[in-house]
């Protein structure tokens, strides 16, 4: 791959973050003991993370709970200081919080509200206009465009606390993008939303990316977000980057098999899960064997031979050959060495 013509918009170099946490035994006795003598443990939330994100790229940051995704995003957004390592966002060190950077950057957190609870979104946006010093004509045009894209124009004058979760998140997105940032950090932007709202936000993000070409870093627990939005993903496991590359390559690297599914004719003989599994085990890994359905993970080179054997050996009414589900592969990679909750 050729190096990018322009320097990366986001770059992290061996970025690490350690937290010192107090370990307390459970119960009252543990609390009393901790009052006088405390045990501290050092937790490495992010370990020497290095990567770059270029203009117009939307990179998915994937990992189990406690893998360090949010910590990494917060370091790059300048919210917390790293323990070691370096980072550059639009040429600035993020945790020095230079206003020239903060004017061109946005952070959106699905679990935290930035808008004032008791005010209508329109008022909150006026405050943001002042904060980001957005000229009035541009401000009005951007509001119109964003609220139209997200279909929340009618809700502009309603207090934030009276909006639905989905509408609130859409308003948060408008608020974050009002100043047309060049770098956008999205931490779980669709968490807790229903499927329709999730889809609307995904479509909006893709359109925004296409039209404005910012560098975007997205964390999400929803594999559908990652699959639909990101061509490139970074997988974090216990603070370490274990994969950084195209989403499509994850399949070839971590799932060297295809899924062969045979739907069986129940009327012909007594094919049970066990008997099908016993007959076909040699063709590949039996991933599922239920009455009427057998699903095999077959090495890619063996797919044709295995499919033929399935058709020969079993009373098949239908057979499908598919790529494994990307979400399931990623989840398996994340789980491989555990993923302790933090």
């Amino acid at each position: 791959m050729n190096p990018p013509a322009t320097p990366a918009m986001i770059s992290a170099h061996r970025l690490s973050k350690e937290f010192t946490v107090h370990k307390k035994e459970p119960g009252l006795r543990g609390s009393l003991r901790a009052l006088f003598r405390r045990r501290y443990i050092v937790k490495e939330a992010v370990k020497a993370a290095s990567f770059e994100v270029n203009e117009g790229e939307l990179v998915g940051l994937v990992g189990a709970n406690g893998a360090g995704k949010t910590t990494l995003v917060k370091m790059l957004a300048g919210v917390i200081h790293p323990t070691s390592g370096a980072a550059s966002v639009l040429g600035y060190c993020p945790w020095e919080r230079d206003n020239r950077l903060r004017r061109k950057m946005a952070l959106i957190m699905g679990q935290k509200a930035s808008l004032w609870w008791d005010l209508p979104a329109a008022d909150c946006f006026l405050l943001l206009r002042e904060i980001y010093q957005i000229p009035r004509p541009r401000f009005e045009a951007t509001i119109e465009m964003l609220t139209e894209m997200l279909e929340v124009r009618e809700q502009l004058k309603i207090q934030i606390r009276r909006l639905s979760l989905g509408e609130r998140m859409k308003m948060e997105l408008v608020a974050a993008l009002l100043h047309e940032p060049r770098v956008v950090f999205l931490d779980e932007p669709t968490i807790g939303l229903d499927l329709t709202a999730q889809r609307a936000i995904r479509e909006f993000l893709l359109r925004y990316l296409r039209e404005h070409r910012p560098a975007m870093l997205l964390t999400s627990h929803y594999m559908e977000d990652i699959e639909k939005l990101c061509e490139r993903i970074i997988i974090l496991r216990e603070g370490e980057i274990v994969y950084d590359g195209p989403l499509a390559r994850v399949v070839a690297t971590y799932a060297p098999y295809k899924v062969v599914t045979a739907h069986l004719d129940g009327a012909q003989g007594a094919w049970s899960a066990e008997s099908a599994a016993a007959a076909l085990g040699g063709l590949g890994e039996v991933a599922e064997a239920a009455p009427g359905v057998v699903r095999l993970h077959v090495p890619r080179a063996e797919v044709a031979r295995s499919a033929a054997a399935v058709l020969r050996e079993l009373p098949v009414v239908d057979v499908t050959i598919e790529e494994p589900e990307i979400g399931a592969i990623i989840e398996r990679i994340m789980r491989e060495r555990g993923g302790a909750e933090r």
């Binding site: 949010t70 935290k112 405050l127 904060i131 933090r342």
Partner: protein, 261 residues
């Protein structure tokens, strides 16, 4: 100018929000009126037993009390809501959004919530101070009154700086209730004339923990005149306190862990 425009937004939002909660609006007026009456009454009782306290007679003490009531009302109106919320912003990781905005985060977290429901109290205390000065039997020239007003504003600034510096301990302690309480205990020293304290305690109260500069020193300047040494002292303490706050704030942000989402 930009920060002034931002503050006008804070004011506008705060007023429109507080009008929604009528009970709280009137309750605060009632509670604070009781507080003012108790404070003035306390000195009334004291002066029925003694002719002077710390060299001040009853009329002077009334001006001093009116001064610290005004300071308290300014604090309640401008800073208090923000101060109450600050430890929770730090502990719950809600400082995150303020840190990514291109404005001073310290300015934002200190001033964003104007307690519009205390505004009536602020007007009441201005009235009490004006009444206290008007009923004073001695001579108070306009220059002395102006110096008193400026020093009282410096006292408000020092009150804010000292209070927030205490609260910033939440960056390290993760619980600021005890420290908040400690600040209120120390602040009680400001509600008595500083002349009653002697020796090292008095030195501490005008320098390291300069609560005497909140209202007592301004009243002293009003009655006895403001000399250059005292003016320089107030300026030096204010600058020193501000530099300390900026230092603690920047160290605090380095220690800020933000709560995991």
């Amino acid at each position: 100018m930009r920060y002034l425009r931002l503050y006008l937004y804070f004011l506008r939002f705060s007023f429109s929000r507080s009008m929604e909660f009528r009970f709280d609006f009137f309750f605060r007026i009632f509670m604070d009126s009781v507080y003012y009456a108790v404070n003035l009454g306390f000195y009334g009782v004291l002066f029925s037993k003694v002719p002077t306290i710390g060299g001040w007679n009853f009329d002077q003490a009334v001006i001093f009390v009116a001064g610290y009531l005004l300071l308290d009302a300014i604090d309640m109106t401008v800073f208090s809501n923000n101060m109450w919320q600050l430890p929770s912003l730090i502990n719950r990781g809600d400082l995150d959004y303020y840190l990514v905005r291109p404005v001073s985060t310290l300015y934002f977290v200190s001033l964003r919530d104007f307690a519009a429901n205390s505004f009536v109290n602020l007007l009441m205390t201005i009235g009490i101070l004006a009444w206290a000065i008007a009923r004073y039997p001695g001579e108070l020239g306009p220059a002395s009154i102006a110096a008193f007003a400026v020093l009282l504003l410096a006292g408000c600034f020092l009150h804010y700086v000292l209070h927030i510096t205490f609260l910033l301990s939440a960056f390290w302690l993760h619980a600021a209730a005890g420290v908040q309480q400690l600040f209120y205990v120390i602040r009680e020293f400001s509600e008595r004339p500083h002349q009653i304290y002697k020796g090292w305690l008095r030195q501490v109260l005008v320098t390291v923990l300069p609560v005497a500069l909140f209202a007592s020193i301004p009243a002293h300047a009003l009655f006895d005149g403001l000399d250059l040494a005292l003016a320089l002292h107030v300026v030096a303490v204010a600058i020193g306190a501000w530099l300390l706050l900026v230092f603690v704030w920047s160290r605090g942000l380095r220690a800020y862990v933000s709560a995991s989402s």
